[in-house]
Amino acid sequence: MEVTRAPDSRKRVREKLFIVDTDVHHGFESWSDLYPYLPQVYAERLREHGGSGPSSQYWHNGGMRGRRADFLNADDLLESTRRQLLDDCEIDIAVLTGSSAYGACGIPDADFGSAICRAFNDYTLEHWVARDERFRVAMAINTQDPLGMAKEIDRIGSHPAVIAIIMPGGATKPYGNRVYDPIYEACERNRLAVMIHFNGEGVGINGPPTAAGWPSHYVEGRMMRAPVYMAHMASFIFEGAFEKFPGLRVVNVEAGFAWMPWYVWRMDSDWKSLRYQAPWVKRPPSEYVKEHVRVNTQPIDEPENERDLEQIIEWMHGDQTLLFGSDFPHFDFDDPRKTLTRLPDRLRRRIFGESALETFPKLQPPG
């Protein structure tokens, strides 16, 4: 008698998840790496005086100088990223979000800051993008020089790997302000998204990190990320930036996401009360958020009961608004194999890849 074995239905073969990692930190190891890309006057300034970009690094940070202590090779960030992140975690597309040039936005000499951003962008294209086709770039922007940076966006924004600009959370004015219009016009022309990454708060010419003053410890500083993004988000909406720039997409990186539902509800309530002060805001803020604003997953929020995450994600329309980010190589890295594993596959596909394809106008799936 012949026995036909039914395929084992308990054994679910999971399709390889298409993963876009929206927060991979790259950089240069020494300021001298940038000399070849800088006008002589600035290369000499760095050589004579040393790297002097203001930074938040007066804090202790975590891990080993902020990075995972098990980081493969501290002398070769690029190779470690390719092996330890892209290969091991099966990342299809990694958006390089820098970090080395965030401080340029806080340098009082705006021209020097812009020169550093331009040099870092060229360095990135040559030393990172050219060495692995999985890399995409969020190009560095000096937020205090909108006209200069509009030219910079037009200079390299059409490079196929450049899919976004990135601006630090610290600023002199929140990002919906009209002073930034030339940057957003250039982003629309070049089909780039706008990413905001926590950094630069309270350093250089930027405002203090909180309205309550300077925190003493790194862990306190981490707690103020979401409020910084809230300030920028309210600014984008109530300054009418999304009315002016219908193609504008804003991605808030590395502040978690569980704060989003409450904040969006709050904005809707207050818009009903105070709409008359900003009547160019034609729709409830939640509708602008759904269309224009994204947040990434990292550092992953951990409610007492992990199952509650699904409820939070539903409240924030996370099937559209939430994008995966690992924050490699930092110590609070989220491994995609261990992140949001309880969610239904349909939702995981959205968060880990599909929504990113819809957010970044130039992003195409590989192959």
Partner: protein
């Protein structure tokens, strides 16, 4: 469903509101440039006395950061949370199709009144009165 004579028309001046009680309801009667309108004096949001809010215009914008006021005096802004309602239609500004406050018909009707100051001969004077229909 009742007819309620409120006051002489010239006792409620343009731009003013008078809040009255009728059939156990609190109702605001507005004079907007000589036309009369009535709204339930209860905000559908949290029950505030809506008609005691600021009477204002409608802030509109033709392009971002440009603001102008239209329909001056035709909007009431609730005293508690600032929700705006169109006094003419009762519709909210933020969501006119789904959020609104009850309106009532108001008429101005001439009525005869005996003049008590004339003792010898009965005299009738015709005056305009505001009449509310619930």
């Amino acid at each position: 469903m009742g007819r309620h004579v409120i006051c002489r028309a010239d006792e409620l001046q343009p731009g003013a509101v008078r809040i009255i009680e009728a059939e156990k309801r609190s109702i605001g009667i507005f004079n907007i440039r000589g036309d009369f309108y009535a709204l339930r004096n209860t905000c559908p949001h949290k029950g505030a006395p809506l008609c005691r809010g600021i009477i204002t215009g409608l802030a509109v914008s033709d392009e971002p950061l440009q603001l102008r006021i239209t329909r001056d005096g035709e909007i009431v802004r609730c005293p508690w949370h600032g929700w705006e309602f169109d006094i003419l239609s009762g519709r909210s500004v933020y969501n006119p199709h789904r959020m609104r406050v009850k309106t009532y018909d108001v008429a101005v009707e001439p009525m005869a009144e005996e003049d008590p100051s004339v003792e010898t001969y009965p005299v009738q004077v015709e005056e305009d009165y505001i009449v509310l229909y619930i």
